[in-house]
Amino acid sequence: MPEVLTTLLSDLTLAFGETFLMVGTSSLFAVVGGLPLGFLLYITEKKLFWDNQIAYALGSFFVNVIRSVPFVILLVVLLPLTQFVLGTTIGPVAASIPLSVAAIAFYARLVEGALCEVDPGIIEAAQAFGASPLRIVGRVLLREALPGFLRGFTVTLISLIGYSAMAGIVGGGGVGDLAIRFGYYRYQTNVMVVTVIALIVLVQVVQTLGDRAAKRADKKGN
Protein backbone atom coordinates (compact mmCIF):
# COMPACT_ATOMS: atom_id res chain seq x y z
CA MET A 1 0.00 0.00 0.00
CA PRO A 2 2.69 2.59 0.81
CA GLU A 3 4.38 1.62 -2.44
CA VAL A 4 1.25 2.43 -4.42
CA LEU A 5 1.06 5.77 -2.63
CA THR A 6 4.65 6.72 -3.38
CA THR A 7 4.26 5.88 -7.08
CA LEU A 8 1.05 7.91 -7.21
CA LEU A 9 2.81 10.80 -5.53
CA SER A 10 5.74 10.72 -7.91
CA ASP A 11 3.34 10.34 -10.85
CA LEU A 12 1.38 13.35 -9.65
CA THR A 13 4.48 15.49 -9.10
CA LEU A 14 5.69 14.70 -12.59
CA ALA A 15 2.25 15.37 -14.04
CA PHE A 16 1.95 18.73 -12.26
CA GLY A 17 5.39 19.67 -13.56
CA GLU A 18 4.29 18.91 -17.10
CA THR A 19 1.01 20.81 -16.68
CA PHE A 20 2.85 23.85 -15.35
CA LEU A 21 5.28 23.71 -18.23
CA MET A 22 2.54 23.52 -20.86
CA VAL A 23 0.19 26.04 -19.26
CA GLY A 24 3.04 28.36 -18.31
CA THR A 25 4.51 28.46 -21.81
CA SER A 26 1.19 28.87 -23.57
CA SER A 27 -0.10 31.53 -21.16
CA LEU A 28 3.11 33.46 -21.69
CA PHE A 29 2.36 33.38 -25.41
CA ALA A 30 -1.23 34.35 -24.68
CA VAL A 31 0.05 37.60 -23.20
CA VAL A 32 2.87 38.23 -25.66
CA GLY A 33 0.73 37.42 -28.70
CA GLY A 34 -2.88 37.78 -27.60
CA LEU A 35 -2.54 41.19 -25.99
CA PRO A 36 -1.21 42.95 -29.12
CA LEU A 37 -3.65 41.04 -31.31
CA GLY A 38 -6.54 42.08 -29.07
CA PHE A 39 -5.40 45.71 -29.29
CA LEU A 40 -5.14 45.42 -33.06
CA LEU A 41 -8.70 44.09 -33.30
CA TYR A 42 -10.03 46.82 -31.02
CA ILE A 43 -8.19 49.71 -32.64
CA THR A 44 -8.99 48.74 -36.20
CA GLU A 45 -12.62 48.00 -35.43
CA LYS A 46 -13.25 51.24 -33.52
CA LYS A 47 -11.21 53.17 -36.12
CA LEU A 48 -9.48 54.74 -33.18
CA PHE A 49 -6.37 56.06 -34.79
CA TRP A 50 -5.94 53.40 -37.39
CA ASP A 51 -8.78 52.65 -39.73
CA ASN A 52 -7.63 49.46 -41.45
CA GLN A 53 -10.49 47.14 -42.25
CA ILE A 54 -8.18 44.62 -43.94
CA ALA A 55 -6.10 44.24 -40.79
CA TYR A 56 -9.28 43.82 -38.77
CA ALA A 57 -10.73 41.22 -41.15
CA LEU A 58 -7.50 39.20 -41.21
CA GLY A 59 -7.03 39.29 -37.44
CA SER A 60 -10.64 38.46 -36.78
CA PHE A 61 -10.60 35.61 -39.27
CA PHE A 62 -7.49 34.07 -37.70
CA VAL A 63 -9.04 34.23 -34.24
CA ASN A 64 -12.34 32.75 -35.40
CA VAL A 65 -10.70 29.88 -37.28
CA ILE A 66 -8.53 28.88 -34.34
CA ARG A 67 -11.41 29.16 -31.93
CA SER A 68 -13.83 27.17 -34.02
CA VAL A 69 -11.52 24.14 -34.37
CA PRO A 70 -11.86 21.73 -31.43
CA PHE A 71 -8.55 21.67 -29.59
CA VAL A 72 -7.91 17.95 -30.16
CA ILE A 73 -8.07 18.56 -33.88
CA LEU A 74 -5.92 21.68 -33.66
CA LEU A 75 -3.34 19.57 -31.86
CA VAL A 76 -3.16 17.20 -34.79
CA VAL A 77 -3.47 19.80 -37.53
CA LEU A 78 -0.55 21.76 -36.10
CA LEU A 79 1.77 18.74 -35.92
CA PRO A 80 3.74 19.90 -38.99
CA LEU A 81 4.24 23.31 -37.41
CA THR A 82 5.45 21.71 -34.18
CA GLN A 83 7.80 19.47 -36.13
CA PHE A 84 9.13 22.47 -38.02
CA VAL A 85 9.70 24.60 -34.91
CA LEU A 86 11.01 21.98 -32.49
CA GLY A 87 12.09 19.07 -34.64
CA THR A 88 9.85 16.77 -32.63
CA THR A 89 6.14 16.34 -31.99
CA ILE A 90 6.34 14.40 -28.73
CA GLY A 91 6.41 15.66 -25.14
CA PRO A 92 5.08 18.59 -23.10
CA VAL A 93 7.18 21.19 -24.91
CA ALA A 94 5.80 20.01 -28.25
CA ALA A 95 2.26 20.15 -26.87
CA SER A 96 2.92 23.75 -25.84
CA ILE A 97 2.97 24.86 -29.48
CA PRO A 98 -0.68 24.14 -30.36
CA LEU A 99 -1.65 25.23 -26.85
CA SER A 100 0.06 28.56 -27.45
CA VAL A 101 -1.69 29.07 -30.77
CA ALA A 102 -5.05 28.38 -29.14
CA ALA A 103 -4.14 30.61 -26.18
CA ILE A 104 -3.26 33.57 -28.40
CA ALA A 105 -6.58 33.43 -30.24
CA PHE A 106 -8.55 32.84 -27.08
CA TYR A 107 -6.96 35.64 -25.09
CA ALA A 108 -7.04 38.09 -28.02
CA ARG A 109 -10.85 38.01 -28.06
CA LEU A 110 -11.04 38.50 -24.31
CA VAL A 111 -8.60 41.43 -24.54
CA GLU A 112 -10.71 42.98 -27.29
CA GLY A 113 -13.82 42.56 -25.12
CA ALA A 114 -12.11 44.16 -22.11
CA LEU A 115 -11.02 47.12 -24.25
CA CYS A 116 -14.57 47.60 -25.49
CA GLU A 117 -15.61 47.98 -21.85
CA VAL A 118 -13.42 51.07 -21.43
CA ASP A 119 -15.58 54.20 -21.32
CA PRO A 120 -15.19 55.89 -24.75
CA GLY A 121 -15.50 59.23 -22.96
CA ILE A 122 -12.13 58.63 -21.30
CA ILE A 123 -10.47 57.99 -24.64
CA GLU A 124 -12.12 61.07 -26.05
CA ALA A 125 -10.85 63.14 -23.13
CA ALA A 126 -7.31 61.88 -23.75
CA GLN A 127 -7.62 62.79 -27.42
CA ALA A 128 -9.02 66.21 -26.54
CA PHE A 129 -5.95 66.90 -24.40
CA GLY A 130 -3.69 65.98 -27.30
CA ALA A 131 -2.46 62.55 -26.17
CA SER A 132 -0.54 60.56 -28.79
CA PRO A 133 -1.82 57.12 -29.88
CA LEU A 134 1.06 55.48 -28.00
CA ARG A 135 0.11 57.29 -24.82
CA ILE A 136 -3.55 56.42 -25.23
CA VAL A 137 -2.63 52.75 -25.57
CA GLY A 138 -0.05 52.71 -22.77
CA ARG A 139 -1.45 55.13 -20.24
CA VAL A 140 -5.20 54.98 -20.85
CA LEU A 141 -6.30 51.70 -22.44
CA LEU A 142 -3.77 49.40 -20.81
CA ARG A 143 -4.56 50.70 -17.35
CA GLU A 144 -8.28 51.24 -17.61
CA ALA A 145 -8.77 47.75 -19.09
CA LEU A 146 -6.32 46.04 -16.72
CA PRO A 147 -9.04 44.52 -14.48
CA GLY A 148 -10.67 43.06 -17.59
CA PHE A 149 -7.31 41.79 -18.86
CA LEU A 150 -6.70 40.03 -15.55
CA ARG A 151 -10.15 38.44 -15.49
CA GLY A 152 -9.68 37.32 -19.09
CA PHE A 153 -6.26 35.93 -18.26
CA THR A 154 -7.76 33.87 -15.44
CA VAL A 155 -10.35 32.42 -17.82
CA THR A 156 -7.59 31.69 -20.32
CA LEU A 157 -5.41 29.94 -17.74
CA ILE A 158 -8.26 27.69 -16.66
CA SER A 159 -9.18 26.84 -20.24
CA LEU A 160 -5.53 26.00 -20.90
CA ILE A 161 -5.46 23.65 -17.93
CA GLY A 162 -8.45 21.92 -19.50
CA TYR A 163 -6.91 21.85 -23.00
CA SER A 164 -3.65 20.50 -21.65
CA ALA A 165 -5.44 17.31 -20.59
CA MET A 166 -5.69 16.43 -24.28
CA ALA A 167 -1.96 16.81 -24.68
CA GLY A 168 -1.64 13.13 -23.79
CA ILE A 169 -2.35 12.43 -27.42
CA VAL A 170 1.08 13.78 -28.33
CA GLY A 171 2.71 12.46 -25.17
CA GLY A 172 2.54 15.76 -23.40
CA GLY A 173 1.59 14.29 -20.04
CA GLY A 174 0.15 16.49 -17.34
CA VAL A 175 -2.44 16.09 -14.61
CA GLY A 176 -5.42 15.71 -16.93
CA ASP A 177 -3.61 13.07 -18.93
CA LEU A 178 -2.84 11.21 -15.72
CA ALA A 179 -6.53 11.13 -14.82
CA ILE A 180 -7.47 9.84 -18.27
CA ARG A 181 -4.76 7.18 -18.35
CA PHE A 182 -5.44 5.75 -14.91
CA GLY A 183 -9.13 6.34 -14.60
CA TYR A 184 -10.29 5.66 -18.12
CA TYR A 185 -7.83 3.16 -19.57
CA ARG A 186 -6.82 1.26 -16.42
CA TYR A 187 -9.95 1.51 -14.33
CA GLN A 188 -8.03 2.78 -11.28
CA THR A 189 -10.86 4.96 -10.07
CA ASN A 190 -9.10 6.00 -6.88
CA VAL A 191 -6.16 7.48 -8.81
CA MET A 192 -8.56 9.27 -11.08
CA VAL A 193 -10.43 10.73 -8.11
CA VAL A 194 -7.20 11.99 -6.55
CA THR A 195 -6.04 13.66 -9.76
CA VAL A 196 -9.46 15.18 -10.40
CA ILE A 197 -9.45 16.60 -6.88
CA ALA A 198 -5.97 17.96 -7.51
CA LEU A 199 -7.26 19.62 -10.69
CA ILE A 200 -10.23 21.14 -8.88
CA VAL A 201 -7.93 22.59 -6.23
CA LEU A 202 -5.63 23.97 -8.91
CA VAL A 203 -8.48 25.67 -10.77
CA GLN A 204 -9.88 27.09 -7.53
CA VAL A 205 -6.52 28.55 -6.62
CA VAL A 206 -6.08 30.11 -10.06
CA GLN A 207 -9.58 31.59 -10.00
CA THR A 208 -9.20 33.00 -6.50
CA LEU A 209 -5.84 34.58 -7.26
CA GLY A 210 -7.19 35.97 -10.53
CA ASP A 211 -10.24 37.48 -8.87
CA ARG A 212 -8.12 39.04 -6.20
CA ALA A 213 -5.71 40.56 -8.71
CA ALA A 214 -8.58 41.93 -10.82
CA LYS A 215 -10.24 43.43 -7.79
CA ARG A 216 -7.06 45.16 -6.73
CA ALA A 217 -6.64 46.67 -10.19
CA ASP A 218 -10.25 47.79 -10.33
CA LYS A 219 -10.62 51.10 -8.53
CA LYS A 220 -14.23 51.60 -9.61
CA GLY A 221 -15.87 50.00 -6.65
CA ASN A 222 -14.35 49.76 -3.22
Partner: protein
Protein backbone atom coordinates in the same frame (compact mmCIF):
# COMPACT_ATOMS: atom_id res chain seq x y z
CA UNK B 1 -10.03 84.57 -30.61
CA UNK B 2 -12.18 81.69 -31.91
CA UNK B 3 -13.67 82.04 -35.34
CA UNK B 4 -15.95 79.45 -36.82
CA UNK B 5 -16.58 80.15 -40.47
CA UNK B 6 -19.50 78.52 -42.22
CA UNK B 7 -19.15 75.19 -40.40
CA UNK B 8 -21.22 72.21 -41.51
CA UNK B 9 -21.13 68.68 -40.13
CA UNK B 10 -23.22 65.77 -41.38
CA UNK B 11 -23.47 62.22 -40.08
CA UNK B 12 -24.67 59.25 -42.07
CA UNK B 13 -27.46 57.81 -40.00
CA UNK B 14 -29.50 54.79 -40.99
CA UNK B 15 -29.52 55.32 -44.74
CA UNK B 16 -30.04 59.07 -44.59
CA UNK B 17 -27.70 61.91 -43.72
CA UNK B 18 -28.19 63.85 -40.49
CA UNK B 19 -27.10 67.46 -40.90
CA UNK B 20 -26.07 68.01 -37.30
CA UNK B 21 -24.54 71.47 -37.88
CA UNK B 22 -25.55 73.69 -40.79
CA UNK B 23 -23.51 76.64 -41.99
CA UNK B 24 -22.70 78.03 -38.58
CA UNK B 25 -20.47 81.08 -38.27
CA UNK B 26 -19.47 82.42 -34.87
CA UNK B 27 -16.89 84.79 -33.45
CA UNK B 28 -15.93 84.35 -29.83
CA UNK B 29 -13.85 87.08 -28.29
CA UNK B 30 -10.85 86.80 -25.98
CA UNK B 31 -11.87 86.44 -22.34
CA UNK B 32 -15.55 85.87 -23.02
CA UNK B 33 -17.76 83.25 -21.45
CA UNK B 34 -19.71 82.27 -24.49
CA UNK B 35 -22.84 80.15 -24.14
CA UNK B 36 -24.41 77.80 -26.66
CA UNK B 37 -27.97 76.90 -25.82
CA UNK B 38 -30.58 74.74 -27.53
CA UNK B 39 -32.71 71.65 -27.14
CA UNK B 40 -31.40 68.10 -27.20
CA UNK B 41 -30.12 67.12 -30.63
CA UNK B 42 -29.75 70.72 -31.79
CA UNK B 43 -26.08 70.09 -32.64
CA UNK B 44 -24.46 71.90 -29.72
CA UNK B 45 -21.96 69.18 -28.84
CA UNK B 46 -21.10 68.58 -32.45
CA UNK B 47 -20.40 72.28 -32.98
CA UNK B 48 -18.29 72.51 -29.81
CA UNK B 49 -16.29 69.45 -30.84
CA UNK B 50 -15.34 71.06 -34.13
CA UNK B 51 -13.40 73.70 -32.19
CA UNK B 52 -10.78 71.15 -31.11
CA UNK B 53 -11.45 69.06 -34.21
CA UNK B 54 -12.70 66.01 -32.32
CA UNK B 55 -15.30 66.42 -35.04
CA UNK B 56 -13.86 67.38 -38.39
CA UNK B 57 -16.22 69.77 -40.21
CA UNK B 58 -17.32 68.72 -43.69
CA UNK B 59 -16.96 72.31 -44.77
CA UNK B 60 -15.98 75.59 -43.20
CA UNK B 61 -12.93 76.73 -41.26
CA UNK B 62 -11.88 76.81 -37.63
CA UNK B 63 -9.59 79.74 -36.87
CA UNK B 64 -7.95 80.06 -33.48
CA UNK B 65 -6.16 83.29 -32.68
CA UNK B 66 -5.70 83.92 -36.38
CA UNK B 67 -4.34 80.43 -37.10
CA UNK B 68 -6.43 78.26 -39.40
CA UNK B 69 -6.34 74.86 -37.68
CA UNK B 70 -8.99 73.14 -39.78
CA UNK B 71 -6.60 70.90 -41.66
CA UNK B 72 -4.07 70.14 -38.95
CA UNK B 73 -3.34 66.50 -38.31
CA UNK B 74 -1.05 64.29 -36.26
CA UNK B 75 1.47 65.93 -33.97
CA UNK B 76 0.59 69.48 -35.04
CA UNK B 77 -3.06 68.91 -34.15
CA UNK B 78 -2.10 67.35 -30.81
CA UNK B 79 0.05 70.38 -29.98
CA UNK B 80 -2.85 72.69 -30.80
CA UNK B 81 -5.20 70.64 -28.63
CA UNK B 82 -2.93 71.12 -25.64
CA UNK B 83 -3.91 74.79 -25.80
CA UNK B 84 -7.62 73.94 -25.67
CA UNK B 85 -8.97 72.46 -22.44
CA UNK B 86 -12.17 70.46 -22.34
CA UNK B 87 -14.63 69.69 -19.54
CA UNK B 88 -17.23 66.95 -19.93
CA UNK B 89 -20.73 66.33 -18.64
CA UNK B 90 -19.78 62.90 -17.31
CA UNK B 91 -16.32 64.02 -16.16
CA UNK B 92 -14.47 61.26 -18.08
CA UNK B 93 -11.74 60.81 -15.47
CA UNK B 94 -9.35 57.87 -15.53
CA UNK B 95 -10.98 55.44 -13.09
CA UNK B 96 -7.80 53.59 -12.26
CA UNK B 97 -5.78 56.72 -11.49
CA UNK B 98 -5.82 58.93 -8.43
CA UNK B 99 -6.90 62.56 -8.50
CA UNK B 100 -3.22 63.52 -8.57
CA UNK B 101 -2.47 61.24 -11.51
CA UNK B 102 -5.54 62.40 -13.41
CA UNK B 103 -4.29 65.97 -13.27
CA UNK B 104 -0.70 64.89 -13.91
CA UNK B 105 -1.89 63.07 -17.04
CA UNK B 106 -2.54 66.24 -19.05
CA UNK B 107 0.79 67.65 -17.91
CA UNK B 108 2.55 64.47 -19.03
CA UNK B 109 0.91 64.82 -22.42
CA UNK B 110 2.41 68.28 -22.72
CA UNK B 111 5.82 66.79 -21.96
CA UNK B 112 6.28 68.40 -18.55
CA UNK B 113 9.05 67.03 -16.35
CA UNK B 114 8.37 65.13 -13.16
CA UNK B 115 9.44 68.08 -11.09
CA UNK B 116 7.24 70.56 -12.93
CA UNK B 117 4.33 68.17 -12.49
CA UNK B 118 4.92 67.73 -8.76
CA UNK B 119 4.85 71.51 -8.38
CA UNK B 120 1.90 72.23 -10.63
CA UNK B 121 -0.55 69.53 -9.49
CA UNK B 122 -0.90 70.70 -5.87
CA UNK B 123 -1.25 74.26 -7.15
CA UNK B 124 -4.15 73.20 -9.36
CA UNK B 125 -5.80 71.08 -6.68
CA UNK B 126 -5.63 74.09 -4.37
CA UNK B 127 -7.28 76.26 -6.98
CA UNK B 128 -10.23 73.90 -7.32
CA UNK B 129 -10.42 73.25 -3.57
CA UNK B 130 -9.37 69.61 -3.58
CA UNK B 131 -5.95 69.79 -1.95
CA UNK B 132 -6.86 67.03 0.50
CA UNK B 133 -8.08 64.60 -2.17
CA UNK B 134 -4.86 64.06 -4.13
CA UNK B 135 -4.68 60.38 -3.26
CA UNK B 136 -8.37 59.56 -3.78
CA UNK B 137 -9.74 57.59 -6.73
CA UNK B 138 -12.64 59.02 -8.77
CA UNK B 139 -15.02 56.41 -7.34
CA UNK B 140 -14.45 57.94 -3.91
CA UNK B 141 -15.49 61.45 -5.00
CA UNK B 142 -18.86 63.16 -5.30
CA UNK B 143 -20.04 64.43 -8.68
CA UNK B 144 -19.05 67.99 -7.89
CA UNK B 145 -15.59 66.91 -6.77
CA UNK B 146 -15.14 64.86 -9.93
CA UNK B 147 -15.98 67.90 -12.02
CA UNK B 148 -13.44 69.95 -10.04
CA UNK B 149 -10.81 67.38 -10.99
CA UNK B 150 -12.07 67.63 -14.57
CA UNK B 151 -11.57 71.39 -14.50
CA UNK B 152 -8.17 71.16 -12.79
CA UNK B 153 -6.76 68.87 -15.46
CA UNK B 154 -8.37 70.87 -18.26
CA UNK B 155 -6.60 74.07 -17.23
CA UNK B 156 -3.33 72.38 -16.23
CA UNK B 157 -1.48 73.35 -19.40
CA UNK B 158 -2.57 77.01 -19.32
CA UNK B 159 -4.96 76.71 -22.23
CA UNK B 160 -6.30 79.76 -24.03
CA UNK B 161 -9.73 78.22 -24.38
CA UNK B 162 -11.84 75.96 -22.20
CA UNK B 163 -14.63 74.01 -23.90
CA UNK B 164 -17.37 72.88 -21.51
CA UNK B 165 -20.05 70.47 -22.71
CA UNK B 166 -22.90 70.66 -20.19
CA UNK B 167 -20.48 70.70 -17.26
CA UNK B 168 -23.25 70.90 -14.65
CA UNK B 169 -26.01 68.76 -16.17
CA UNK B 170 -25.13 65.73 -14.05
CA UNK B 171 -25.06 67.74 -10.82
CA UNK B 172 -27.64 68.95 -8.34
CA UNK B 173 -28.59 72.63 -8.21
CA UNK B 174 -26.27 73.69 -5.43
CA UNK B 175 -23.23 71.79 -6.70
CA UNK B 176 -23.98 73.11 -10.14
CA UNK B 177 -23.87 76.67 -8.86
CA UNK B 178 -20.50 76.10 -7.19
CA UNK B 179 -19.04 74.62 -10.38
CA UNK B 180 -20.29 77.62 -12.37
CA UNK B 181 -18.63 79.91 -9.84
CA UNK B 182 -15.39 78.00 -10.24
CA UNK B 183 -15.59 78.41 -14.02
CA UNK B 184 -16.23 82.11 -13.58
CA UNK B 185 -13.17 82.34 -11.36
CA UNK B 186 -11.08 80.46 -13.91
CA UNK B 187 -12.25 82.94 -16.53
CA UNK B 188 -11.65 86.03 -14.44
CA UNK B 189 -8.40 85.07 -12.74
CA UNK B 190 -6.65 83.18 -15.51
CA UNK B 191 -8.20 85.01 -18.45
CA UNK B 192 -9.22 81.77 -20.13
CA UNK B 193 -11.91 82.11 -22.79
CA UNK B 194 -14.77 79.72 -22.04
CA UNK B 195 -17.27 78.19 -24.45
CA UNK B 196 -20.06 76.55 -22.51
CA UNK B 197 -22.93 74.40 -23.70
CA UNK B 198 -26.14 74.14 -21.76
CA UNK B 199 -29.74 73.32 -22.42
CA UNK B 200 -30.72 75.53 -19.50
CA UNK B 201 -31.07 79.28 -19.96
CA UNK B 202 -30.60 79.66 -16.20
CA UNK B 203 -27.01 78.46 -16.52
CA UNK B 204 -26.37 80.82 -19.42
CA UNK B 205 -27.95 83.68 -17.47
CA UNK B 206 -25.70 83.02 -14.52
CA UNK B 207 -22.27 83.17 -16.10
CA UNK B 208 -22.28 83.89 -19.83
CA UNK B 209 -21.60 87.22 -21.44
CA UNK B 210 -22.75 86.21 -24.91
CA UNK B 211 -24.89 83.39 -26.19
CA UNK B 212 -25.81 81.60 -29.39
CA UNK B 213 -29.19 79.89 -29.64
CA UNK B 214 -29.17 76.68 -31.71
CA UNK B 215 -32.09 74.90 -33.23
CA UNK B 216 -31.92 71.99 -35.69
CA UNK B 217 -28.26 72.51 -36.49
CA UNK B 218 -28.46 76.24 -37.05
CA UNK B 219 -27.61 79.24 -34.92
CA UNK B 220 -30.89 81.13 -35.06
CA UNK B 221 -29.97 83.99 -32.77
CA UNK B 222 -26.79 85.32 -31.23
CA UNK B 223 -25.82 88.24 -29.02
CA UNK B 224 -25.34 89.66 -25.52
CA UNK B 225 -27.06 87.51 -22.92
CA UNK B 226 -28.86 90.56 -21.60
CA UNK B 227 -30.23 91.46 -25.02
CA UNK B 228 -31.31 87.90 -25.73
CA UNK B 229 -33.22 87.81 -22.47
CA UNK B 230 -34.62 91.32 -22.81
CA UNK B 231 -35.58 91.27 -26.46
CA UNK B 232 -35.55 87.77 -27.94
CA UNK B 233 -36.26 87.95 -31.68
CA UNK B 234 -37.06 84.37 -32.61
CA UNK B 235 -40.14 82.53 -31.34
CA UNK B 236 -37.93 79.64 -30.22
CA UNK B 237 -35.71 81.98 -28.20
CA UNK B 238 -38.71 83.73 -26.68
CA UNK B 239 -40.05 80.37 -25.62
CA UNK B 240 -36.74 79.50 -23.93
CA UNK B 241 -36.64 82.86 -22.16
CA UNK B 242 -40.27 82.71 -21.05
CA UNK B 243 -39.62 79.29 -19.71
CA UNK B 244 -36.82 80.60 -17.45
CA UNK B 245 -38.85 83.54 -16.18
CA UNK B 246 -41.70 81.18 -15.44
CA UNK B 247 -44.50 83.71 -14.96
CA UNK B 248 -47.38 81.27 -15.26
CA UNK B 249 -50.47 82.17 -13.27
CA UNK B 250 -52.53 79.57 -11.46
CA UNK B 251 -55.52 78.45 -13.51
CA UNK B 252 -57.99 79.64 -10.90
CA UNK B 253 -56.83 83.22 -11.49
CA UNK B 254 -56.91 83.14 -15.28
CA UNK B 255 -60.42 81.69 -15.33
CA UNK B 256 -62.04 84.33 -13.19
CA UNK B 257 -60.34 87.34 -14.73
CA UNK B 258 -62.22 90.53 -15.28
CA UNK B 259 -60.19 93.40 -16.64
CA UNK B 260 -57.15 93.72 -18.83
CA UNK B 261 -54.23 91.44 -18.05
CA UNK B 262 -50.84 92.79 -19.06
CA UNK B 263 -47.31 91.41 -19.09
CA UNK B 264 -44.97 94.34 -18.76
CA UNK B 265 -41.23 94.29 -19.37
CA UNK B 266 -39.01 96.90 -17.73
CA UNK B 267 -35.41 97.30 -18.79
CA UNK B 268 -32.44 99.08 -17.29
CA UNK B 269 -33.06 102.63 -16.02
CA UNK B 270 -36.70 102.63 -16.94
CA UNK B 271 -37.29 99.93 -14.37
CA UNK B 272 -36.81 102.67 -11.84
CA UNK B 273 -39.58 105.10 -12.90
CA UNK B 274 -42.90 104.68 -11.07
CA UNK B 275 -45.00 104.01 -14.19
CA UNK B 276 -47.75 102.05 -12.50
CA UNK B 277 -48.49 104.57 -9.77
CA UNK B 278 -48.53 107.27 -12.45
CA UNK B 279 -51.14 105.29 -14.32
CA UNK B 280 -53.52 105.00 -11.38
CA UNK B 281 -53.29 108.73 -10.79
CA UNK B 282 -53.60 109.88 -14.37
CA UNK B 283 -56.25 107.53 -15.65
CA UNK B 284 -58.06 106.49 -12.52
CA UNK B 285 -57.56 102.77 -13.17
CA UNK B 286 -56.83 100.16 -10.55
CA UNK B 287 -53.66 98.10 -10.87
CA UNK B 288 -53.49 94.70 -9.30
CA UNK B 289 -50.08 93.00 -9.52
CA UNK B 290 -50.44 89.23 -9.84
CA UNK B 291 -46.90 88.14 -10.55
CA UNK B 292 -43.51 89.66 -11.05
CA UNK B 293 -39.77 89.37 -10.78
CA UNK B 294 -36.59 91.24 -11.40
CA UNK B 295 -33.58 89.43 -12.84
CA UNK B 296 -30.10 90.86 -12.88
CA UNK B 297 -28.06 89.78 -15.88
CA UNK B 298 -24.48 91.00 -16.02
CA UNK B 299 -25.55 93.55 -13.39
CA UNK B 300 -28.36 95.01 -15.47
CA UNK B 301 -31.96 94.62 -14.43
CA UNK B 302 -34.79 93.00 -16.35
CA UNK B 303 -38.14 93.42 -14.62
CA UNK B 304 -41.29 91.52 -15.53
CA UNK B 305 -44.73 92.17 -14.10
CA UNK B 306 -48.08 90.58 -14.70
CA UNK B 307 -50.73 93.13 -13.74
CA UNK B 308 -54.50 93.40 -14.01
CA UNK B 309 -56.00 96.80 -14.94
CA UNK B 310 -59.55 97.63 -13.88
CA UNK B 311 -61.74 100.66 -13.40
CA UNK B 312 -60.84 102.68 -10.38
CA UNK B 313 -63.33 104.29 -7.99
CA UNK B 314 -62.91 108.02 -8.76
CA UNK B 315 -63.67 108.24 -12.43
CA UNK B 316 -62.81 111.46 -14.23
CA UNK B 317 -66.00 112.48 -16.05
CA UNK B 318 -64.49 112.96 -19.49
CA UNK B 319 -63.70 109.31 -20.32
CA UNK B 320 -65.62 106.05 -20.45
CA UNK B 321 -64.21 102.98 -18.67
CA UNK B 322 -62.81 101.09 -21.66
CA UNK B 323 -61.26 104.19 -23.20
CA UNK B 324 -59.49 104.92 -19.95
CA UNK B 325 -58.00 101.46 -19.82
CA UNK B 326 -56.93 101.70 -23.47
CA UNK B 327 -55.10 104.95 -22.86
CA UNK B 328 -53.58 103.54 -19.68
CA UNK B 329 -52.17 100.61 -21.68
CA UNK B 330 -50.83 103.05 -24.26
CA UNK B 331 -49.18 105.09 -21.51
CA UNK B 332 -47.54 102.00 -20.05
CA UNK B 333 -46.44 100.89 -23.50
CA UNK B 334 -44.69 104.16 -24.22
CA UNK B 335 -42.92 104.19 -20.86
CA UNK B 336 -41.69 100.59 -20.64
CA UNK B 337 -39.79 98.22 -22.90
CA UNK B 338 -42.61 95.94 -23.96
CA UNK B 339 -46.24 95.30 -23.11
CA UNK B 340 -48.10 92.16 -23.98
CA UNK B 341 -51.86 92.00 -23.52
CA UNK B 342 -52.52 88.52 -22.17
CA UNK B 343 -56.25 88.96 -21.71
CA UNK B 344 -58.62 91.82 -22.48
Amino acid sequence: MIELQDISVAFTGKGHAIRAVRNVSLRIGQGEIYGIVGTSGAGKSTLLRTINLLERPDSGRVVLDGRDITNLRGAALRRERQRIGMVFQHFNLLHTSTVYDNVAFTLEIAGKSRQEISERVPELLNLVGLADKAGAYPAQLSGGQKQRVGIARAIANHPEVLLCDEPTSALDLETSASILELLQEVNARLGITIVLISHEMSVIKKICTRVAVMDAGEVIEEGDVYDIFATPQQPFTRQLVDHTFNLDLPQRLTQELSGTLLKILFLGDRAETPVLSDVTLRFGVSVNILHGKIEYINNRAIGLLVALLGNGPDVPQSLTGSARIASAVEFIRSNTARVEVLHA
